[in-house]
C-alpha cells in the first residue's frame, strides 16, 4: 500500500507500484487537469509539483512519491488565483489550452525557486514545456508579469 498526499489529501494505492503518477491522477483519482502529451518527459504537459519542485508525472512512478506531497493544477491555489494563473489570464496566454496546466505548474515552480527570473532564465526554465499552438511569447510575458506583481 502506497500512501501519498495529493493537493493536501491523503490517498492510498495498492495496485502496480510502477504505475506512472500521471495515470494515477487522471484515471484513478479523476484529477484530469494534468495532461498526457508524450509519456517520456519530453513535453511537460503532465507537470506537477512534488514537494514544491516541478516533476514530470508521466515518468514518475507512484512508488517514487510515496510519503511525499504532490500538487497538481487543481491544487495550486484554492480559488485559482495564484499569481501565475492571474498573469496567464491577463496576458490571454492560451490558444487550445491543453499544455497550459503543465506550463503554469512549471512557471509556479520556477517562481518558488527564483522569484525574479530574467527573460533568459524564464526561457531556460520553460524550455521543457512544449506548446504546439505557439503561445511562447505570451508565456514569457506572463511569467515575467507574475514575477513583478499582477
Amino acid at each position: 500500500m502506497i500512501k501519498v498526499k495529493i493537493n493536501g489529501q491523503e490517498q492510498s494505492w495498492d495496485g502496480d507500484p510502477s504505475l506512472p503518477l500521471l495515470w494515477y491522477l487522471r484515471d484513478e483519482l479523476g484529477l484530469t487537469g494534468s495532461k498526457y502529451g508524450c509519456g517520456q518527459a519530453l513535453c511537460g504537459a503532465c507537470t506537477v509539483m512534488v514537494d514544491k519542485e516541478a516533476a514530470r508525472s508521466c515518468i514518475t512512478a507512484i512508488s517514487d512519491v510515496a510519503g511525499r506531497e504532490v500538487t497538481t493544477i487543481e491544487g495550486l491555489h484554492p480559488t485559482g488565483d495564484h499569481p501565475v494563473q492571474k498573469a496567464w489570464r491577463q496576458v490571454n496566454v492560451p490558444q487550445c489550452g491543453f499544455c497550459q496546466a503543465g506550463q503554469i505548474m512549471q512557471a509556479a515552480a520556477l517562481l518558488n525557486e527564483n522569484p525574479k527570473p530574467s527573460h533568459d532564465q524564464i526561457r531556460d526554465a520553460m524550455s521543457g514545456n512544449i506548446c504546439r499552438c505557439g503561445c511562447y511569447q505570451r508565456i514569457e510575458n506572463a511569467v515575467h508579469l507574475a514575477s513583478t506583481g499582477v
Binding site: G15, D16, S18, L19, P20, L22, W23, Y24, R26, D27, G30, L31, T32, G33, S34, K35, Y36, G37, C38, G39, Q40, L42, C43, A45, T72, I73, E74, L76, G80, Q85, W88, R89, N92, P94, Q95, C96, G97, F98, C99, Q100, A101, I104, I122, R123, D124, M126, S127, G128, N129, I130, C131, R132, C133, G134, C135, Y136, Q137, R138, I139, E140
Partner: protein, 777 residues
C-alpha cells in the same frame, strides 16, 4: 425530434449534397429545451435559410454539406434570470471560434457579454448547419449568418417589449441587455422578456436590420478573452482525454507499422500478466485506402491508461506489411525529383513558357523539397464511446462532429439519428482531428466490449500513424530578359494527393490542392505554365494547417528571393515588381479554380490587396532597416484561404550554424474581422509552427515504417528558440469587405521569409526542409 429535409435533397448524398432548401417540419420542443436548457418555449415551423436575401456579399457557405442554418430559436435562448445561452456549433481547437461566433450573435442582439454563456452543440448538421471546423472558414462563412441570428433575436425581444408596454415596436430599442422605451423612460430586462420573446414569430431574414458597424461594442474592438480562459488556467477545461464515464475501460491499440498492413498473429500472454490489464483483442481494420476507417490492430484493455500502455509494450504481434512495405523516403524523393524534371499534366497556361524559357537571356532554376509533416497536436487523438444496442454516444475532440456522426453510423451500421457526438475542447487540431478514425476505433471497441471505452493514442501512435502532410518537390524555372525582367515562369509541383486517402490510384492533385498556391500564383508574367506530374501515395495523406500552400509558398517566395539575389535587387521591390499592377486575376486557362470554395465575385484574387499587405508589413516592420552584422532580413507574401499575408523575418546565424530569430512582423488582410486579439494569437502561433516546420518538420519512411516516434526524434520549436519578438499588424477593413481566413494563412509565408532572411544573413540558399544541420556545413 424530427427535422425532415426536402424530399428532393434528402435523396442526394447527405454528406456532399448541397441542401439549401431544408425545412423544419416539426421541431420537438422537448429536444430543444433539453439541449439548451431554455426558459422560453420554442415551437416553430420557421424556414431555415441557407443564404440571406440581402447579403452584402456571397460566400460558399451554402455549398458546404448541410449549408447554414439561420434561426435564433436554434442558436439562442434566454433564461428568466437574464442569462443568454448561445450555441457554438464549431469546434474549439485554439482559434477562439467558440468565443468569436457567439460574440457576433451577442453583438447584434445587444446582449451584455458578461451575461452570455456558450453552449457547445453536438454533431447535428441538419439542425445546426455545416460543422466542419476546417479550411479557415468559420468566421468567413458565419459572420453574416450569426449577425442575422442576433438581429432576429433582438427584433423578437423588441417586439415582446413593445407588446408588454402597448407601444409600437418602432418606439423601443434593445440596448445592452434590456429593451428601452425612451419616450416613457421604461426599460425591461432581457430575462423578463424571455418567454414572451420566444413566442414571437421569427422575423424574415430580409425584414431585419443589422446594426451599423459604428455601434459595435465588441466586433473588431480587440480585447475579448476566450470563454474557456479561466477553466484552462485552473485545470477544469475538458478535452477529449478528460472524459470519464462510470465503468469505462481504457484501451490502447497496436496498429500495423506499415500503412495497409494487417495483423498476422499475436501472443497476448505477457500482456495479460501486466497488473491492471483485463483483455486483449483484435480490432477490425479496413483495406487501404479507406478514408477515415481504422487501421486495425490489437487492443489492450485495462483499468487505466498506464496499465494499457504497459500491456501493449508486452504484446507480441506479427504483422503482414502489405503493399507499402517498400516505402523509403530517400528513394521517393529521387522519384519526385525525376518527375519534376519531366513535363507533367498542364494545369495552367498563359503565353508559351517553354518557348520563352528557351529564348530567355537567363534562366534561374529552383528545385525545392518539403517532406511529410506530422500534426503532433499536444493532445494526441483520443475518444470515448458508449455503444448500447443500436445507439452510440461519442465524446471526442473532433473538427467534424457532423462527419463523425455519419461515419460512426456507417461503421456500426445504425442510423445517424442514433448517434450522439459530444464535442469536447480539442487540444490542438491542425487538420488531424478532421479525421475521426480514433472515434471509430472507440465505437467498435465499445460495441464489442459492451462497456464505455476510451481509446488513447500515445505520442508514438500519433507520429507513426498520422494522416501526414504530403511530401513534395516544387521545381520552378524563371526566364529573364536582358533587362532582368521575368518573362517566363514554369512551375512543376509533384506530390501525392489527399485524394489517395479516399480512392485507390489517385495520383494527380485535386482542384483544391492545385488552387493552393500553384494555379492561383499571382505574378504578372507574360508566359506562365503550371504542371502537375503524377505521384503515387504510399501512406495516408491528409490536410495539415494550410495544406499545399506550405510547399507552394516556400517555392514561389524563395524563387522571388533567388531572382532578387541574381539581379541585385531588393527582395521587397522584386516581390512587388512580380506581383505587378493592382488587378483582379483572370485565370482563363485554369479548368477549375477552386478559390477555397468561395464565389470569385466576393473573393477575387486581387493583386492590389496583395501589394498593400506587402507595403503594410514593410512600413510597420521597418523593412530595409539596418541590422547588425551577421543578421539578415527576409520577406514573403502569400494569399491563402482568401486572405492576404506578408511576413518579415530577421535572423542571425552564428559561426556554429545556430539560428536565432530576432523578430517577426506579420501583416494580414482578412477583410472585416471579429476579434483582433485572437487574430494576433493565431499569427504568433503560425510563426512558431512555421519555424518548427522549417527547422525540424520531417516524417520519413524506411521499409514502409515511420522513422520518428516522439518529441526527441521529431522535435518541435521550444520557447528558448522562439522568435524574440513577434508583431502582428492587421490591415484595417470596412464592414463590407467579406471576412476571410485567419487560422491557417499565417503559416505559408513564414518558412520562405525565413529562408530569404537566412540567405541575406549567410549567402546560403535553403532549397530543402527541414533545415536540420544544413547551416552548420
Amino acid at each position: 425530434m424530427s427535422i425532415i429535409a426536402n424530399p428532393d435533397t434528402a435523396k442526394s448524398n447527405p454528406r456532399r449534397g448541397f441542401e439549401r432548401h431544408l425545412k423544419v417540419e416539426n421541431v420537438s420542443r422537448r429536444a430543444i429545451l433539453q439541449t439548451l436548457g431554455l426558459a422560453g418555449g420554442f415551437v416553430l415551423a420557421a424556414p431555415l435559410l441557407s443564404r440571406p436575401a440581402f447579403a452584402a456579399y456571397e460566400t460558399g457557405a451554402g455549398k458546404m454539406p448541410h449549408g447554414t442554418v439561420v434561426d435564433p430559436k436554434v442558436f439562442v435562448s434566454i433564461a428568466p434570470d437574464g442569462i443568454v445561452s448561445i450555441l457554438a456549433h464549431r469546434s474549439e481547437m485554439g482559434t477562439g471560434v467558440r468565443t468569436s461566433l457567439p460574440l457576433i450573435v451577442a453583438e447584434e442582439m445587444e446582449a451584455d457579454w458578461s451575461k452570455v454563456r456558450v453552449v457547445q452543440a453536438p454533431g447535428d448538421e441538419v439542425k445546426f448547419g455545416n460543422q466542419d471546423t476546417d479550411g479557415s472558414r468559420s468566421t468567413r462563412h458565419y459572420l453574416l449568418p450569426m449577425r442575422q441570428i442576433g438581429a432576429m433575436a433582438r427584433a423578437m425581444l423588441e417586439a415582446a417589449a413593445a407588446q408588454k408596454l402597448g407601444v409600437p415596436a418602432s418606439e423601443v430599442k434593445a440596448v445592452n441587455h434590456e429593451v428601452v422605451h425612451s419616450a416613457s423612460g421604461k426599460r425591461i430586462g432581457f430575462g423578463e422578456l424571455a418567454s414572451d420573446a420566444a413566442n414571437q414569430p421569427v422575423p424574415a431574414v430580409d425584414s431585419i436590420k443589422l446594426k451599423s458597424p459604428r455601434d459595435f461594442r465588441y466586433l473588431g474592438k480587440g480585447q475579448v478573452s476566450i470563454v474557456d480562459l479561466r477553466d484552462i488556467t485552473v485545470g477544469k477545461a475538458r478535452y477529449g482525454a478528460d472524459v470519464r464515464l462510470p465503468g469505462m475501460k481504457y484501451a490502447v491499440i497496436a496498429r500495423p507499422p506499415v500503412t495497409g498492413g494487417k495483423v498476422k498473429s499475436f501472443d497476448a500472454a505477457e500482456a495479460l500478466k501486466v497488473s491492471g490489464v483485463e483483455q486483449v483483442l483484435e480490432v477490425k481494420g479496413w483495406p487501404w485506402p479507406s478514408k477515415f476507417q481504422p487501421l486495425g490492430g490489437v487492443a489492450v484493455i485495462a483499468r487505466n491508461t498506464g496499465a494499457a500502455i504497459k500491456g501493449r509494450d508486452a504484446l507480441k504481434v506479427e504483422w503482414e506489411d502489405g503493399p507499402n512495405a517498400a516505402y523509403d523516403s530517400v528513394a521517393y524523393r529521387a522519384d519526385l525529383e525525376a518527375a519534376a524534371r519531366q513535363p507533367g499534366l498542364v494545369v495552367r497556361q498563359e503565353g508559351d513558357a517553354d518557348a520563352a524559357l528557351k529564348s530567355a537571356d537567363k534562366v534561374i532554376t529552383g528545385e525545392y523539397y518539403l517532406p511529410h509533416f506530422a500534426h503532433a497536436s499536444m493532445e494526441p487523438p483520443v475518444a470515448v464511446a458508449d455503444v448500447k444496442g443500436d445507439k452510440a454516444e461519442i465524446w471526442a475532440p473532433v473538427q467534424s462532429p457532423g462527419g463523425t456522426r455519419e461515419d460512426v453510423a456507417k461503421t456500426l451500421q445504425i442510423p445517424p439519428e442514433n448517434v450522439t457526438v459530444n464535442v469536447t475542447l480539442l487540444g490542438g487540431g491542425f487538420g488531424r482531428k478532421s479525421k475521426c478514425d480514433f472515434a471509430l476505433e472507440a465505437a467498435l471497441l465499445s460495441k464489442t466490449l459492451g462497456a464505455p471505452v476510451k481509446v488513447q493514442w500515445t505520442r508514438d501512435d500519433d507520429i507513426q500513424h498520422d494522416f501526414l502532410h504530403t511530401v513534395s518537390v516544387e521545381r520552378i524555372e524563371a526566364g529573364l530578359d536582358k533587362s532582368g525582367k521575368v518573362v517566363a515562369w514554369r512551375h512543376r509541383s509533384v506530390a501525392p494527393t489527399i485524394l489517395s486517402t479516399f480512392a485507390a490510384g489517385a495520383d494527380h492533385a485535386a482542384p483544391f490542392e492545385l488552387g493552393m498556391g500553384l494555379v492561383d500564383m499571382p505574378f504578372e508574367i507574360a508566359n506562365i505554365q503550371c504542371e502537375n506530374p503524377a505521384a503515387k501515395a504510399m501512406t495516408r495523406i491528409g490536410w495539415f494547417r494550410s495544406v499545399s500552400n506550405i510547399p507552394r509558398a516556400f517555392a514561389v517566395q524563395s524563387m522571388v528571393g533567388e531572382i532578387a539575389a541574381a539581379t541585385g535587387r531588393d527582395q521587397k521591390d522584386m516581390l512587388l515588381e512580380l506581383i505587378g499592377s493592382p488587378r483582379v486575376l483572370k485565370l482563363a486557362s485554369v479548368k477549375d479554380l477552386w478559390n477555397y470554395g468561395e464565389p470569385y465575385e466576393s473573393y477575387p484574387i486581387d493583386t492590389g490587396r496583395l501589394r498593400r499587405v506587402v507595403e503594410f508589413v514593410a512600413e510597420k516592420g521597418n523593412w530595409g532597416r539596418s541590422v547588425p552584422k551577421g543578421h539578415g532580413l527576409g520577406i514573403a507574401a502569400h494569399r491563402s484561404f482568401v486572405s492576404y499575408i506578408a511576413t518579415i523575418v530577421e535572423v542571425s546565424v552564428d559561426d556554429k550554424g545556430k539560428l536565432t530569430v530576432h523578430q517577426v512582423d506579420s501583416a494580414i488582410d482578412c477583410g472585416t474581422f471579429v476579434n483582433p486579439e485572437r487574430i494576433a494569437s493565431q499569427l504568433e502561433g503560425a510563426a512558431i509552427m512555421g519555424l518548427s516546420l522549417a527547422k525540424y518538420g520531417e516524417v520519413s519512411f524506411k521499409n514502409g515504417r515511420v522513422q520518428q516516434r516522439n518529441f526527441d526524434d521529431h522535435p518541435v520549436v521550444r520557447i528558448d528558440e522562439a522568435p524574440l519578438v513577434t508583431n502582428v499588424h492587421i490591415v484595417p477593413a470596412d464592414a463590407d469587405t467579406p471576412p476571410s481566413g485567419v487560422g491557417e494563412p499565417g503559416v505559408p509565408p513564414f518558412a520562405p521569409a525565413l529562408a530569404n532572411a537566412i540567405f541575406a544573413a549567410t549567402g546560403k540558399r535553403l532549397r530543402a526542409l527541414p533545415i536540420g544541420n544544413q547551416l552548420a556545413t
